[in-house]
């Protein structure tokens, strides 16, 4: 802790030095007044994140924050303000600024097809000026337009289509960002960490799109207010609930049904939203001719709820909760896993210039499986992880050119890596527990976003993270061969290990002209908790473990350089980014690692370094009849770990050198919308045998280097067609029918390759590929009222 104080002092001095002369830019004696407020959607009162407020006279502007709030301080005078948001009609307000003003603005959505009305002076091209790169924001309406697997609209499937992002396996909801592992992504739902975002062995994600407002992915240029993961931040925001009127929406699909209800409790003051989804895959099992299959229950559900209270312009409270579970059971055994989160946030304005948000979060991931009581081999095996997270964030709108954010957070993690025990009197399994452990992960940060003249925008910040292992805990000590030699037990509350480090984050944007800019960013991230999983497809049997005296934190440094150019009045945004990422203390698992129910898990870990680099090209159509994006990624990702692959460098399991995504939507007419995806990626790396030995009747494969072969290339085309019924003016009910086809040309994409004995000559083997999904049509009826 001692070294913490000088670091903070240094940081403060640094900030004061920078902001000091800047705030003194104003001639003495000129008073500044603050305009602040929120920008919301007129139809439902939802806050618009990243809406822009352009001040015509100054040819500059500001954007709303994550809570739809903005603030700008200007000298006395007459100003024309343009409030705009993509897909909404811009509002212009002329003001005579003589005192602090609160201006809350409600924007009306653009009627579809009514486009191309370009308003002069509107603050478009924000993507060029912001000193932020490698990010992508997408709202739930856009996600809904993307053809979906089995008709289930899925945020994570949409994210996997972005440049630099790879699906970890066919149909799975794991993703790899710029070659990183899936556990290097911080996924938050209303600030609560979601540790396992998958349902049904990963084929669906836990996010019910009906309850989601928008999603932002940060591929390494993570804001200083977040930390703890090396590769990305996926910030998922739930809808706040309609402040204007009671409404509902829902859908009946091929595998699930959904219903969302929202409305004001007190108009424009208090609103709520509840949203539920349940699958009925098990209903199909009932049709099976196999008796064993018929008796199974197999489903998942999601429940989202949120309440938000506007006490006044200065105080607002949000309470959001999520609970989702997968259930699989029959008389013989049962298995369940699920995530619960509860977050409470309080927005408070200390002044018109200081916005604050205080957050308290509880989040839990748990799974259990076993044989129900009453049988001699009855047992239960469960594991869980609890998080208690407290966070305070402040935004200080110093002047139009400087926005300072600072804050702190601390997370108390409780790990229960696994307990297995017999059930009932007859049980012959004794209890077996992998010792639980606790850790405290904290951070403080400060960051400034600064405009320097018309061309240059800067973002620079510093995060200081601190990690403690806290008793009760058991620490195993290992010899040089990773065998446990003894263990030390620590008492409750005893801090037995501490790690800390500084994480600089910075970005510069330089406008070359009206339509193009250059950007550079650098970020360091430290990761203190890790996932023990060496499967490439996600399973629910996740075990998270923390850094400890045996496991150093993983540290990543990432540099990125980008060229951004907009075309056609900013309707077409293009970017070219190159990145280089280097990871220290990278973790991989030894050959044949045992990760489940292993007290000496740390002995299965091996440490080394990892690096990845690549180029990402994105063309995005933001408005018009044709919207969507085309992306191409060229990348390489590798690891070097002394005890793995004989110390030779090997490509990481998520290395896919070429990756193309085409995601397009076309409004054919007022009633019909057509959507398509086409995905192409180099086949995943695999290890194949280069020799064999018959050994007691089985063919034992002998491998050469890890990941030195590749599966056949992956490609797939999906279509969707949405028909919106004619809207009758006097009827509230609006229905739409969506037909989607996954894998239109029925490509048999390889999921895995196995070697099997020839039927007529069992002593000979042949290679056999398994593919999961051929062409899959699905139909969904969605409604709104």
């Amino acid at each position: 802790m001692k070294s913490l104080i000088p670091a903070i002092l240094l940081l403060l001095t640094f900030i004061l030095m920078l902001s000091g002369p800047l705030s003194a830019e104003d001639p003495i004696g000129i008073d500044r007044y603050t305009i602040s407020g929120t920008v919301t959607d007129a139809t439902n009162g939802e806050e618009l994140l990243g809406a822009t407020i352009y001040i015509e006279e100054l040819e500059t502007g500001v954007a709303t924050n994550l809570y739809g709030f903005y603030s700008v301080s200007l000298p006395e005078g007459k100003y024309t303000l343009m409030f705009s948001y993509v897909g909404f009609q811009t509002i212009q307000k002329t003001i005579n600024l003589k005192t602090d003003l609160t201006i809350n603005v409600e924007l009306e959505m653009n009627k579809e097809m009514l486009t191309e009305v370009v308003i002069k002076g509107e603050m478009k091209g924000e993507n060029l000026r912001k000193p932020e790169m490698s990010t992508f924001k997408i709202d739930s309406r856009s996600i809904k337009k993307i053809p979906a697997f089995m008709g289930e609209v899925d945020i994570i499937k949409a994210i996997q289509l972005l440049p630099g992002v790879q699906a970890t396996s066919e149909g799975g909801s794991g993703f790899s960002v710029r070659g990183g592992s899936p556990d290097q992504n911080l996924i938050i739902l209303d600030e609560a960490t979601v540790y396992n975002a998958s349902h049904l062995m990963g084929f669906f994600s836990v996010f019910n799109n009906d309850a989601i407002k928008d999603v932002t992915l940060y591929k390494g240029d993570i804001p200083a207010s977040y930390g703890g993961r090396l590769s990305s931040l996926l910030d998922v925001r739930m809808k706040e609930g309609n402040m204007k009127k009671f409404s509902g929406s829902g859908g009946i699909g091929t595998i699930s049904s959904r219903l969302t209800l929202e409305g004001p409790v007190v108009k424009d003051k208090i609103s709520f939203i509840v949203s539920g989804r349940r699958t009925y895959a098990d209903l199909f099992l009932k049709l099976s001719s196999n008796e064993n299959l018929r008796d199974n229950a197999l489903y998942f559900y999601d429940l989202n709820g949120k309440m938000n209270v506007k006490f006044n312009d200065n105080n607002r409270l949000f309470i959001s909760a999520y609970s989702g579970k997968d259930i699989f059971s029959n008389d013989d055994f049962k298995m369940g896993w699920g995530t619960q989160t509860l977050s409470m946030r309080w927005n408070h304005l200390f002044s018109k210039k200081i916005f604050s948000n205080f957050t308290a979060v509880y989040s839990r991931f748990k799974y259990s499986l076993g044989v129900p009581e009453g049988q001699p081999n009855s047992f239960i095996w469960y594991a869980k992880l609890n998080d208690y997270n407290f966070k305070a964030d402040f935004v200080y709108y110093l002047n139009p050119n400087n926005t300072i954010t600072f804050g702190a957070n601390t997370i108390f993690h409780q790990f229960y890596p696994g307990t297995a025990k017999g059930l009932g009197e007859e049980a012959f399994f004794s209890e077996f527990e992998v010792p639980r452990s606790n850790a405290l992960e904290s951070g403080i940060y400060i960051s400034n976003e600064q405009k320097m003249g018309a061309r240059v925008s800067l973002k620079y910040g510093l995060r200081f993270s601190l990690f403690n292992n806290i008793g009760t805990g058991v620490l195993y000590n290992f010899d040089d061969d990773y065998n446990a030699i003894d263990s030390t037990v620590f008492a409750k509350g005893e801090i037995f290990n501490t790690y800390f480090g500084v994480e600089p984050r910075m970005g510069i944007s330089y406008s070359l002209n009206e339509v193009s800019s250059l950007k550079v960013s650098y970020a360091r991230n430290r990761q203190y908790i890790h996932l023990a999983s060496n499967s490439t497809a996600g399973t629910p049997l996740d075990i998270w473990f923390s850094s400890s005296p045996n496991v150093k934190p993983q540290v990543a440094d990432q540099f990125a350089l980008g060229y951004f150019r907009n075309f056609k009045e900013n309707i077409i945004e293009t970017s070219l980014e190159i990145f280089y990422k280097k990871i220290k203390n990278a973790i991989d698992f030894k050959d044949h690692a045992e990760l489940l129910l292993n007290q000496e898990l740390e002995g299965e870990l091996r440490f080394g370094k990892a690096q990845s680099y690549g180029l990402e090209l994105l063309v995005k159509l933001t408005e018009g009849r044709l919207t969507g994006w085309i992306s191409y990624t060229l990348s390489h990702s590798e690891r070097t770990i002394a005890e793995i692959n004989n110390g030779k460098t090997y490509v990481s399991p998520y290395d896919k050198p070429h990756d193309i995504s085409v995601v397009l939507n076309y409004n054919i007419s007022k009633s019909f919308v057509f959507g398509m995806n086409w995905i192409y990626a180099t086949g995943s790396p695999v290890t194949f045998p280069t020799g064999g030995a018959w050994y007691q009747g089985v063919r034992l494969p002998i491998y050469s280097d890890r990941n030195s072969y590749r599966l056949p290339d992956y490609h797939r085309l999906d279509f969707s067609l949405t028909y919106k019924g004619r809207q009758k003016k006097d009827r509230k009910w609006r229905g739409e029918l969506n037909v989607s086809i996954y894998n239109v040309y029925n490509r048999k994409n390889t999921w895995v390759i196995n070697f099997k004995p020839e039927e007529n000559d069992p002593a000979k083997l042949y290679a056999e590929k398994t593919y999961l999904f051929g062409i899959i049509p699905a139909i969904t009826y969605n409604f709104k009222f």
């Binding site: 055994f333 004794s430 044949h592 064999g692 030995a693 990941n707 590929k769």
Partner: protein, 280 residues
């Protein structure tokens, strides 16, 4: 934890019931050849066997080239046995039929090849033969959920950390005749306790050689093996079995206990038998 495996397999099965398979052509490189050693000694009085061969190309080979003319010995602190090569099956080496291992002894295998393999003429391995607790009795229970006969084990597990291998014989014919049929468990969940009829093997009435008729004798061969051998068998089972990306990590070479990069294992273990006669 066999039950867990079954469960995982079932969940997995349900998930991929849409999955399909297809035969494909694959070009595989050929690695340099290595010696393969398959040897064991037990506390049974019999001719113990060591098999020597060479690795071969992974696909399409139904037999590996045998290694003939080697000098093979198994020794302990108290005795040394010379193994003779079979006349009919080259590459197979036997002790005389009166050899019986003694639990508690460390056994050493030495192989002297007539020509170098992988730059090496001499290979060796050693393995401890641990004593085994008595097998009190076995039972048979029909499991109507899975439609299989479950072989139940009644024995007291000692407080030490133990690894067991279970094999099933019907009328003295070994049914668990390949390494993938053998069941290997640790005692994690019942260490130091009476096993009380835990299922350690299954007979599938759908398979002709596993069907039971009145008067059939079912025998359980229970062996206490070393941790290294248990892991070896598990790894062989995993590497030769079905791979799927959800469970299990990347493929990797199986670690045996033979010196100098040779493939395989030399195992020493003690054995207990238990039998029951099936009556309808």
């Amino acid at each position: 934890m066999n039950l867990t495996n079954k469960l995982i397999k079932l969940v997995f099965f349900i998930i991929i019931f849409t999955g399909c398979t297809e035969k494909i052509e694959l070009e595989l490189d050929e690695s340099y050849a290595r010696l393969v050693v398959e040897g064991e000694i037990t506390n049974e009085k019999k001719a113990h066997q060591v098999k020597l061969s060479m690795t071969s190309s992974f696909l399409g080979e139904d037999r590996d080239p045998p290694v003939s003319g080697a000098i093979v010995t198994i020794s302990s602190a108290t005795s040394t046995y010379y193994l003779n090569e079979s006349q009919s099956e080259p590459g197979l080496y036997y002790t005389t039929s009166d050899v019986q291992g003694i639990p508690g002894e460390l056994y050493q295998l030495d192989i002297e090849l007539p020509v170098e393999v992988n730059g090496q003429k001499h290979y060796s391995a050693n393995c401890m033969m641990f004593p085994i607790a008595p097998l009190d009795s076995i039972g048979l229970r029909y499991d109507d959920r899975w439609d299989v006969w479950e072989v139940q084990c009644y024995a007291l597990d000692p407080p030490t950390i133990d690894f067991y291998m279970f094999e099933i014989l019907k009328n003295s014919i070994m049914l668990s005749d390949t390494l993938s049929d053998k069941m290997v468990v640790d005692d994690k969940l019942y260490n130091g306790q009476y096993t009380n009829g835990i299922g350690v093997g299954w007979l599938d009435p759908e398979k002709p050689d596993e069907q039971l008729q009145n008067g059939d004798t079912v025998t359980l061969r229970m062996s206490r093996i070393t941790e290294e051998y248990a892991y070896f068998i598990w790894e062989v089972q995993r590497e030769s079995g079905y791979h799927n990306p959800m469970f299990g990590g990347p493929p990797a070479n199986v670690a045996g206990n033979i010196s100098d990069g040779a493939i395989g294992f030399f195992a020493a273990y003690s054995v207990e038998y238990g039998s029951t006669v099936y009556e309808e």
